[in-house]
Amino acid sequence: MGTFHQGKHALHGITVVVDTKGSRVFIGRCDDWDDNGVILLDADEHQDGADGHSKQDYIAQAAQFGVWKKHDRVMVPGTDVASVTRLGDVVAG
């Protein structure tokens, strides 16, 4: 038994990695995804190279235990989105 979320993208409620065409990558719970972009809840973001970690390092680490949120809600514009992947499908580092 659970709740229902009609009218949302199939990834609604799923924790996803949103990689951008630039240096930033976001991880959060997908609320919705449409032509305007991807809306994430309880999201973290990482800048490639920050703290000595590449995007790939950061994603692999997040795949183990999740992320500490920086944003309650963030919209990644559709024009910036390079890929959207389930975090649960990423092999942990």
């Binding site: 038994m1 659970g2 709740t3 409620g13 799923i14 235990f65 999740g66 975090l87």
Partner: protein
């Protein structure tokens, strides 16, 4: 805003009716965690069907294993806020997510299943994941 308690009650009972101890307050959590002997599991339950809808039956299936934790308890995120915060303080090294599951041995966390490893998977998949952890951490030592 918390969901209507009447709507949430069946989600609580999915676990409590199989003997999982429900912890409704911070003091309940402390009392449960005070016993550091053996193995214990804490399930952070939640309303969202995207993940918790499979987490509860997955836990129920896993607990049918011969090898399982000595004690199992649950807190309900978004409902019992103090109890959930207190429970998370015992596995504070992990980012909070719900549902999630922490397995303890002798008072220390030995295995953690965050939400993103539950959502989108079926109950059997989670049950298998938990059963493997039970075998690794809850099985009696072979002499």
């Amino acid at each position: 805003m918390p969901y209507d308690p009447i709507m949430v009650q069946p989600m609580r009972e999915e676990l409590t009716r199989i003997g999982v101890q429900e912890l409704r307050s911070a003091s309940d959590v402390d009392a449960f965690m005070q016993d550091k002997s053996g193995t214990a599991m804490v399930v952070v339950n939640s309303v969202c069907g995207c993940a918790a809808g499979q987490a509860r039956p997955g836990v129920r299936l896993a607990l049918q294993s011969e090898v399982k934790p000595d004690r199992v308890a649950t807190v309900f995120a978004g409902q019992d806020l103090d109890a959930t915060a207190k429970a998370r303080s015992y596995f504070a090294q992990f980012p909070p997510s719900s549902p999630s599951i922490a397995l303890f041995k002798d008072g220390a966390v030995v295995h953690f299943v965050p939400r993103h490893l539950i959502e989108g998977r079926d109950a059997l998949s989670l049950a298998n994941h938990l059963s493997e952890a039970f075998q690794k951490f809850c099985a009696p030592a072979v002499k």
